[in-house]
């Protein structure tokens, strides 16, 4: 366990990035207002029921895996009757490398809701949710891959900026309210309290390597922060990798220790979602929301790793006449290379650090849907992720079908993660008070063209919904679960 922990930390130490990958909420969910958890995208949405209760761990269970930009067919593809990798002698390494961008990533996003419920009151609809989220993104520069595959070339600067990782595990306790301000205007707000369990953040990741016949130059300004409340970190005296030992109480978790990890008050944050839902005419629905305004301040067991250097290697300075039987050239090389390795390692500094704050990735949604007739509706959604150094834009178009009260599918097509190859769908299934839904932005693409799919996400949830019959008599009667 100790070795695993050390390996993880070591990997994280050599990784880092200022790039952030947007945590995934399926855009398709935006068009499924009847699903209670759609208010995660816009807190102004009100479920069409008086009360709902989500199934523990399944309200929803969500997962996303994505790779940008590499897809399966970039790595493995058929040729001359067999399946080869790009590293095969007949493989096309250059084509593989051309796919890569400056910084590439692999992202995982896993979330589960421990408890979710909502209820309607005269002053609006309230919802309460406790969720656990894992966001993990690993970034790798394209030049790093080029370096590994093509080797070291002459007079080339390898820009390795952005190498790193952002990993977070935290719990989210949220309380939402949606109220009708005017006859056709709804407003919602969701307040969130966040409890961080563990984090690794890349603060800065500037790294370059210049190689030529004359010299190699390494320039680095990298810093990573980590909050590891579950482990004891012991630093060496001479800058070696620290020892990391998991806390002994993790092996015998008890009711007294679990809250300390799950609701760690030292790693606390706050968040806020805001949204409005406007219906200028009966067929048209326009909404805007701003979600994940907030931050987490990590204070518990905070550590810092930095690697700052400007190191020139010109070769080993050698005077061939200094060698003798007692000091061979091989001995000299060994000794000097060891010294160099020590020097380079010497720039790696470990230490305890003060608190640091990570902002949540704020998202702005703006969408509209239009009901063409009683069966088909169309929607369009713009999603803007406001990241540290840039914004990322996604656009999703949808076609919704209404096949009675029990099963209502939606098909979507999105541009996201720099890919147009995203066909998704969603359905909501109702049987009495039992509601089940499944939403994905790109699973159809993954089924149809798995070799070129760069990401897969889905939400799956089950709820018990009560009081919807009363509402069926109202304006939403013909579309109880799907807008």
């Amino acid at each position: 366990m100790k070795a695993i922990a050390r390996t993880i930390l070591t990997l994280c130490m050599v990784a880092g990035s200022g790039l952030q990958v947007q945590a995934q909420l399926t855009n398709t969910l935006y068009f499924m207002h009847g699903v209670p958890q759609s208010n995660r995208i816009n807190p102004a949405y009100q479920p069409v029921c008086s009360f709902y209760l989500g199934f523990p761990a399944l309200s929803p269970l969500r997962l996303e895996l994505s790779s940008n930009p590499l897809v399966w067919e970039d790595v493995i593809y058929p040729q001359d009757g067999e399946l080869i990798t790009f590293m095969h002698p007949d493989g096309d390494r250059d084509r593989f490398l051309r796919q890569l961008r400056g910084v590439n990533y692999v992202a995982t996003d896993l979330g589960t809701t421990l408890g979710s419920l909502g209820f309607r009151t005269p002053i609006g609809f309230f919802s309460l949710e406790v969720a656990t989220r894992w966001d993990g993104n690993i970034y790798y520069p394209g030049d790093l891959v080029r370096l590994m595959i093509k080797g070291v070339e002459n007079d080339v600067t390898y820009e390795l900026d952005g190498i790193g990782a952002d990993l977070s595990l935290f719990n989210e306790l949220s309380l939402g309210w949606s109220g009708q301000l005017m006859e056709n205007l709804y407003f919602g707000v969701r307040a969130k309290v966040l409890f961080g369990m563990a984090n690794l953040s890349t603060v800065s990741s500037d790294l370059s390597l210049y190689t030529s016949e004359e010299r190699w130059t390494i320039q680095s300004d990298m810093q990573f922060n980590a909050s590891l409340p579950f482990a004891e970190v012991t630093y060496g005296e001479e800058g070696e990798l620290p020892d990391i030992e998991l806390n002994s109480d993790l092996e015998n978790l008890s009711s007294s220790t679990i809250p300390g990890y799950l609701l760690n008050g030292q790693n606390m944050g706050l968040g806020l979602d805001l949204g409005i839902d406007y219906r200028p005419i009966k067929q048209l629905r326009v909404s805007v929301s701003l979600t994940d305004l907030g931050y987490i301040t990590w204070k518990d067991q905070v550590h810092e790793v930095s690697y700052r250097t400007n190191y020139d290697y010109m070769g080993l300075e050698v005077n061939p006449f200094e060698f003798s039987e007692d000091l061979s050239f091989g001995d000299y090389m060994d000794s000097t290379l060891n010294q160099m390795a020590d020097s380079l390692q010497g720039f790696l500094e470990f230490g305890e650090s003060g608190p640091y704050t990570k902002r949540l990735n704020t998202k702005l949604y703006a969408g509209a849907s239009f009901e063409l007739n009683k069966i088909i509706s169309f929607g369009i959604l713009s999603r803007t992720d406001i990241l540290n150094r840039r914004v990322a834009e996604q656009v999703t178009a949808s076609v919704g079908f209404r096949f009675g009260r029990y099963w209502n599918p939606t098909v979507t097509y999105s541009y996201m993660n720099s890919s147009f190859n995203n066909i998704g769908f969603g359905y909501s299934f109702n049987l009495g008070p039992f509601n089940s839904y499944f939403v994905t932005d790109n699973l159809i693409t993954a089924l149809l063209w798995p070799e070129s799919t760069s990401s897969v996400n889905f939400w799956f949830g089950m709820n018990l919904m009560f009081g919807y019959k009363k509402l069926l008599k109202g304006p939403e009667a013909d579309r109880p679960l799907v807008y």
Binding site: E82, E213, F321, I444, L448
Partner: protein, 553 residues
């Protein structure tokens, strides 16, 4: 509505199945080839450095032979001390001894002192001459004694009291007073014996030079007080004066110490014995330098009657000085007493046959010389102080001012790149990039032959007509570098050549060093000078293409 739903489902499922089936080939992992090949380039600086002249010359010799002239010209210097004398070795003062007898006659008749009893009878003065004998032909004008003792001994069987005075005008004390010492004969019993020791430190002896001898006169004056007794046959009074353990603070005169500088010896010249190929170098200004440093006030002349070079092959050539084989060295004059005078006398190509002498590439130079006092300057007054020293050295100087058109070195060495060898199959090609900035006016061409266990040539590293790997610097008319020459040499090892590395057991390295070519046709090749400030900067980088195939591991 239900029908629509089913229709949609069927369309979706059928479409998915059809397309997935089409793309199945991407996921048929049974057909996945496990062959992978890594083709990596590697470019890296490996080593760099700056070889100073001192470093480079260690190739040929040990540092102890390397010297630098005031102009920075490097020279090999082979040195031998021919002569090293101190003053006491040059001149050793002899012991002076004089004995005087009184009334030692053959008469059988007692003698009566011809004065009334109680009166004093003065015997006539007697004078003894003592020769100050030194080796060689010397004229001693003065000797300031350092230490020494004069023992005056008197034995008297006269039954009279009296006294004896010993004196010398040639021996004077520090105040200039003549040496004079009196022994009182206080016992008239006829058995008087007495000795007196006199410390001679700071006395000056000024011998009288006569008939090639340096003479000191001692006067003996004996007075007897008549006791009324007779002087019987057999009675005597014997006086001895012995000056012994005489050192000197200085000696002045004409000094010609014999055998002062008669010696022989030899100088080892390892550069030619270790590197006989250097015989192809023609040195511009080789020379012998005799250096005498002397505080002895005697001008010396050295006659060398045989300076012989013995080559590695045993051949011999004698050095001949065109104007005779005598070397005259200066000495401090009387006004330079206490100073050291240094005289350098060079024997070079203008005064001797030294070029011919070195043509045998001598591994040893033997010499035989004799020294004598020089009379060239006509000054016949010399001196030696007690602190005087004379050192004579012989130096063979070989300034690195030479030309070469065919200096070649060859060596065969065992080749073992690693204990377990290397897997050359992973190396597709290698290129070694040698970058130099050469301030030496020497170009270096190298060929390396790869030999198998039977010393048969497998391949060679450079093409036959490859340019020198080191270009000579640009020199001026004096042979001094004015501009360094940069050079980049790329040594390529294609796969075909790398494959032969494993078969290579020996490497034969052949190197040719040449000085710059003559600037004008029909002119002689210029001589070049090697200064201590020259250096050779070098960098070695490697460019390799590695090919690693999983099937070949």
């Amino acid at each position: 509505m239900k029908r629509h739903t089913i229709t949609l489902l069927i369309i979706l499922l059928a479409g998915s199945l059809a397309v997935t089936t089409c793309n199945k080939e991407y996921f048929d992992l049974d057909k996945l080839s496990d062959e992978m090949e890594l083709r990596m380039r590697m470019v890296a600086p490996v080593v760099y450095g700056n070889l100073s002249m001192k470093d480079i010359l260690q190739l040929f010799d040990t540092v102890e032979y390397i010297d630098t002239s005031p102009t920075g010209l490097i020279l090999f210097s082979y040195f031998d001390t021919v002569l090293s004398l101190s003053a006491d070795t040059a001149i050793e003062l002899p012991e002076l001894d004089a004995i005087e007898f009184y009334l030692d006659t053959d008469n059988d008749i007692p003698v009566t002192i011809p004065v009334p009893p109680g009166d004093t009878f003065n015997l006539p003065r007697r004078t003894k001459s003592v020769d100050f004998v030194l080796s060689g032909e010397n004229r001693l004008d003065s000797i300031l004694l350092q230490g020494g003792n004069a023992r005056l001994h008197l034995t008297s069987s006269f039954r009279h009291s009296g006294m004896l005075m010993i004196s010398s005008q040639e021996i004077r004390d520090r105040r200039g007073n003549p040496f004079s010492e009196t022994i009182v004969i206080s016992d008239a019993s006829g058995s008087f014996v007495h000795s007196v020791d006199v410390d001679m430190d700071l006395y000056t002896i000024a011998p009288i030079y006569r008939n090639d001898s340096n003479i000191v006169y001692l006067d003996f004056d004996l007075s007897l007080i008549n006791s009324g007794n007779t002087i019987d046959p057999g009675d005597s009074c014997v006086v001895s004066a012995t000056f012994s353990e005489l050192g000197f603070y200085n000696v002045v005169g004409f000094l010609d110490p014999e055998d002062l500088a008669s010696t022989s010896g030899s100088i080892e010249v390892p550069i030619w014995s270790d590197y006989p190929e250097l015989a192809s170098l023609e040195f511009s200004d080789p020379r012998f330098v005799f250096t005498m440093a002397t505080s002895v006030g005697i001008p010396f002349a050295i006659d060398f009657d045989s300076v012989i070079a013995t080559g590695v092959d045993g051949s011999q050539v004698e050095l001949t000085k065109y104007d005779g084989n005598t070397l005259e060295f200066k000495a401090p004059g009387m006004r330079q007493m206490g100073e050291t005078v240094v005289t350098d006398i060079q024997i070079d190509k203008t005064t001797s046959n030294i070029q011919e002498f070195l043509a045998v590439s001598p591994s040893e130079i033997s010499y035989k010389i004799e020294g004598r006092t020089s009379t060239v300057d006509g000054d016949n007054t010399h001196f030696i102080l007690d602190t005087s020293r004379v050192n004579l050295s012989l130096e063979f100087l070989l300034p690195l001012n030479f030309r070469s058109t065919g200096f070649a070195l060859s060596d065969t060495m065992e080749f073992e790149i690693a204990e377990d060898g290397i897997d050359t199959t992973m190396i597709d090609s290698v290129e070694i990039v040698l970058t130099t900035i050469n301030r030496l006016p020497i170009e270096l061409a190298v060929q390396i032959y790869m030999l198998d266990n039977d010393h048969q040539q497998i391949d060679q590293v450079f093409d036959d007509h490859a340019p020198p790997i080191l270009g000579a610097s640009v020199v001026d008319i004096d042979g001094v570098t004015t501009e360094a020459t940069p050079e980049t040499t790329r040594i390529k090892f294609p796969a075909s050549k790398i494959g032969k590395i494993e078969q290579t057991a020996y490497l034969r390295v052949e190197a040719t060093l040449n000085t710059p070519e003559k600037p004008v046709v029909d002119e002689e090749e210029p001589f070049v000078k090697i200064l201590s400030s020259y250096d050779l900067k070098y960098k070695i980088a490697v460019k390799a293409l590695l090919k690693i195939n999983t099937r070949e591991l």
